[in-house]
Symmetry: C2
Subunit: 152 residues, 2 copies
Amino acid sequence: MKDMKRNLEDITNKLKNNNIRPSHQRLKVLEFLDNNRIHPTVEQIYHSLYDEIPTLSKTTIYNTLNTLIEAGLVRILTIEDNEVRYDIRTDTHGHFKCKSCGNIYDFEVDMDLVEVKGLNGFRIYTKDVYFSGICSKCLEQEDGAKIFDKVI
Amino acid sequence: MKDMKRNLEDITNKLKNNNIRPSHQRLKVLEFLDNNRIHPTVEQIYHSLYDEIPTLSKTTIYNTLNTLIEAGLVRILTIEDNEVRYDIRTDTHGHFKCKSCGNIYDFEVDMDLVEVKGLNGFRIYTKDVYFSGICSKCLEQEDGAKIFDKVI
DNA sequence: GTTCCTGCAAAAGCTTTGCAGAAGA
DNA sequence: TCTTCTGCAAAGCTTTTGCAGGAAC
């Protein structure tokens, strides 16, 4: 288990290695993404850091995220209409959105095994998989059929 | 090959079966989506129909699309940030976006064969697959390496 | 006649831009 | 000192809402 100091050092180096100045705000944003794997929106990041940095502005969150995306340290998730989310995991993995609680879960998927027809001669750079439904926690708490009726 | 009249009749029935009044605007929007499988944006639909219906408003496009989505006749594609697209195909299929020409291609994918880890006990309703890269046409036209440098 | 639809204008959100002062190298 | 970063205010876009007139049933 990493201690906080070590973690901060890692994040600082991550930024330095990509020629991004490790400003306080940038460190905090990247640290938040690293510690909270919830695929947050700009609003969530802003709200979470606001107590700690009362002078923080949303512009800075946008600036920082765009910088991190350009450097390949973060990627955008366009899971659903009108909610842009950000993910610190940049390797290929799937996302599941629960229609009941709204949480987004990561899952592992081996896309190399997927059979695809109609892309002969295409060069593929990125592969994304997005599922939606009801997560196990929500299914335990409520009657599944009731939820089904609610969301459809 | 279907003639135009027959096609219009089909579309009218499709609306009627879903308790949606087959107004002129709605017919034209659905017809456009059916004839042009380009996963258009609101802007594209509006622009394409404007010549034919000069009184058309974007509000109507939005209203119509939301009605069609609610009825399950159309679905939203959230392929990339800040461009919402609409698809008349509602069965499971993949989408490929070419980073060079921007076109979106459909492809067939058998998601039942995909091995997934981490979703035990989850109920899955929808499965979406989104790839990006360079399409075969663009690869033929230009040197692949050059395009690669350009988009990365 | 009654219900539903269209489209204008305005409002509401989210994201970007311009820029001046602050911070960092 | 010089470059880069932050954050306020304003602008730019996309989408939604309120509503009055019009169309469909």
